[in-house]
């Protein structure tokens, strides 16, 4: 059966109750270790690497879940390593290896040649060596538990009857999660917390009248900590204000910049 980021542990809906508590119990194994989050080197390295991954996503027309998974591997790996100085090739090799591993987990064909067409060329042997290094650091836990894994569960708590409404909610929450991956600060929060926050935002945007019901049912969940959820909410709110502001600026200048250029500019700003 195919590995699905939305259901890394569950493939049949009828079996959900069998494993939902296990999903929450396991998620801490799939996040970067906390110490790295205050490191400037970590943030700079990861911002550059994410920018590269998203460029490859655009140029190779990758499934966004592949890029998301690759970024998860990147964060987990780099949080367990010293950031090497003076080795510019290292960043690119890590990016290629994370993308390669993610595409294999998603059963996507992604040739080394295609990934590397715009940069220096690494031998397959070098990439395999880096892949094995990453696998060892991540203890081969590659079926990552991400915010997408929790969306179905939280939506089910609200007991929404309308299927198209549920689907719209899930789609918008997923979009919010994809956009949020650029911000390193979110790494402080567990995937389930990020998922809950994204859903609350999505419901507020799409269905204001349903908002209070959904928010109440999500925050009542025994698996979530209210205070942490509140902090995550504030952070995501700031991020979304920033996103809206940038959109206005771009529109007012009738910019023809590509998404890649926007990402590059975002990266530079984050570095300052």
């Amino acid at each position: 059966m195919e590995f699905d980021l939305e259901d890394p542990l569950v493939s049949l809906e009828e079996e959900q109750t069998f494993t939902i508590s296990e999903l929450f119990a396991s998620e801490s194994e799939h996040v970067p270790s906390p110490n790295c989050l205050t490191s400037t080197h970590f943030r700079v390295f990861c911002c550059e690497a994410i920018s590269l991954i998203l460029q490859v996503q655009v140029s190779c027309k990758l499934d966004p879940f592949v890029a998301y998974l690759a970024i998860n591997y990147l964060h987990r790996f780099m949080s367990s390593q010293e950031i090497p100085q003076g080795k510019p090739w290292f960043l690119r090799l890590v990016v290629i290896s994370c993308l390669s591993l993610a595409s294999k987990m998603k059963n996507t064909t992604l040739s080394f040649l295609v990934i590397q067409k715009e940069g220096c060329y690494f031998k397959a042997q070098s990439i395999q060596r880096m892949e094995l290094l990453i696998l060892g650091a991540l203890k081969w836990r590659m079926r990552s538990i991400t915010p997408f894994s929790f969306l179905h569960f939280f939506i089910s708590l609200a007991e929404i009857k309308d299927q198209s409404l549920k689907q719209a909610l899930k789609s918008r929450a997923s979009e919010i999660i994809f956009n949020a991956q650029n911000d390193i600060k979110l790494l402080e929060y567990k995937p389930s917390t990020v998922a809950a926050t994204a859903l609350i935002f999505a419901s507020h945007e799409l269905f204001p009248q349903q908002y209070s019901i959904l928010r109440a049912s999500i925050t009542a969940s025994e698996y979530l900590d209210g205070e942490t959820l509140s902090k995550c909410f504030d952070l995501m709110q700031d991020m979304m204000r920033m996103e809206a502001k940038e959109l206005m600026i771009d529109t007012s200048f009738l910019s023809t910049e590509t998404p890649v250029s926007m990402l590059e500019r975002n990266t530079k700003r984050q570095r300052i």
């Binding site: 987990m105 397959a124 081969w140």
Partner: protein, 337 residues
């Protein structure tokens, strides 16, 4: 690029003895030097690939890492990388060590002679136990008590795998590890046969795995379902009772004929779609026999559960989760399982 303090597989473990070899590569009983803990090391060469680590290896090891949370799936504790004499990368999968498997366990009971039905044992025990050879008597009493427990643990482990969308596909007594002291049973070799295939004589391979293979697989169905594992569970259930394989075929055709002789040759009435399967042919027409002719000492509830595991139509076969709820297990103390 080795991190300081990280030991290679050879440095971290002392190999004590080779305990197995097969489709999964070599298996060693070993001691972890740092802790003194006994583990099972499964060694497999990582095949060189133009695209790095093979996807099947990556996906299967990731599955094992995930499934290792259940007490009825053998625990993959670590994955170590090493190099063999030719400088090729080798993976060592570090598993918890289990001292025996169900195949050896069954064989140890086969040497005790004919089976006495559990319900008769209970009657005799209450009347006059002294007239029997004590060892012979208690060996069979022991097994009849543990039959339910072992079967329940097997269903629970399979339910856990299926709940995660994972099929085993090769359930057989050899792949069910046991701890004799605690009578705990654990499923092993999940996906390993596929991910770490080592060239092996086809005849031997088929002998080893045909006996537990579901009829839809033998008939060439291309879409497997979880039901293929439940067929294997049923065959193992019967074998635990009789100490003999239920369907010991030595070729795919003979395997099918063994099945048809007992359960009747299937037709479109009992199994819609069967005649359209790729390997379907004309077969001798047998009528179904009662399961009690094959498993005479199993009680009525056990026979009912077994019959539901051996339904021809895959979608009608009982699921592992439903099997756990069957009345056959009602009087089993499940608190520690």
């Amino acid at each position: 690029m080795e991190k300081t303090g990280v030991l290679s597989a050879k440095e971290a473990f002392e190999k004590l003895e080779k305990v197995g070899e097969g489709t999964y590569g070599k298996v060693y009983r070993a001691r972890e030097k740092a802790t003194g803990k006994i583990v099972a090391l499964k060694k497999t060469r990582l095949h060189e690939d133009e695209e790095g680590v093979p996807p099947t290896t990556l996906r299967e090891v990731s599955i094992l890492r995930m499934l290792s949370r259940d007490p009825h799936v053998v625990r993959l504790m670590d994955v170590k990388q090493g190099q063999n004499k030719e400088g090729k990368t080798v993976l060592y999968l570090v598993f918890e060590y289990m001292d025996t498997d169900l195949k050896k366990f069954i064989r140890s009971f086969r040497q005790s002679g004919e089976t006495i039905p559990p319900h008769i044992i209970k009657v005799i025990l209450s009347i006059c136990p002294s007239i029997f050879n004590i060892r012979f008597f208690f060996v069979h009493l022991f097994l009849s008590i543990w039959l339910q427990s072992l079967m329940y643990q097997l269903c629970k482990g399979v339910a856990f795998c299926h709940g995660h969308g994972i099929l085993h596909r090769d359930l057989k007594p050899h792949n069910l590890l046991m701890d004799r002291k605690t009578m705990m049973l654990k499923i092993a070799d999940l996906g390993l046969a596929r991910a770490f295939t080592v060239p092996i004589k086809k005849y031997t391979h088929e002998i080893l795995t045909l006996w537990y293979r579901a009829p839809e697989v033998l008939l060439g169905a291309t879409h497997y379902s979880m039901a293929v594992d439940m067929w294997s569970v049923g065959c193992i259930f019967a074998e635990l009772v009789t100490k003999q394989a239920l369907f010991p075929g030595d070729s795919e055709l003979q395997q099918l004929l063994h099945i048809f002789r007992l359960l009747g040759t299937p037709n479109e009435d009992v199994w819609p779609g069967v005649s359209k399967l790729m390997n379907w042919h004309e077969y001798p027409q047998w009528n179904p026999q009662s399961l009690s002719t094959a498993v005479p000492s199993l009680d009525e509830l056990g026979l009912d559960l077994l019959s539901q595991m051996l339904k021809y139509e895959p979608s009608k076969r009982i699921s592992a989760k439903k099997a756990m709820e069957h009345v056959y297990f009602d009087d089993l103390d499940k608190r520690h399982l």
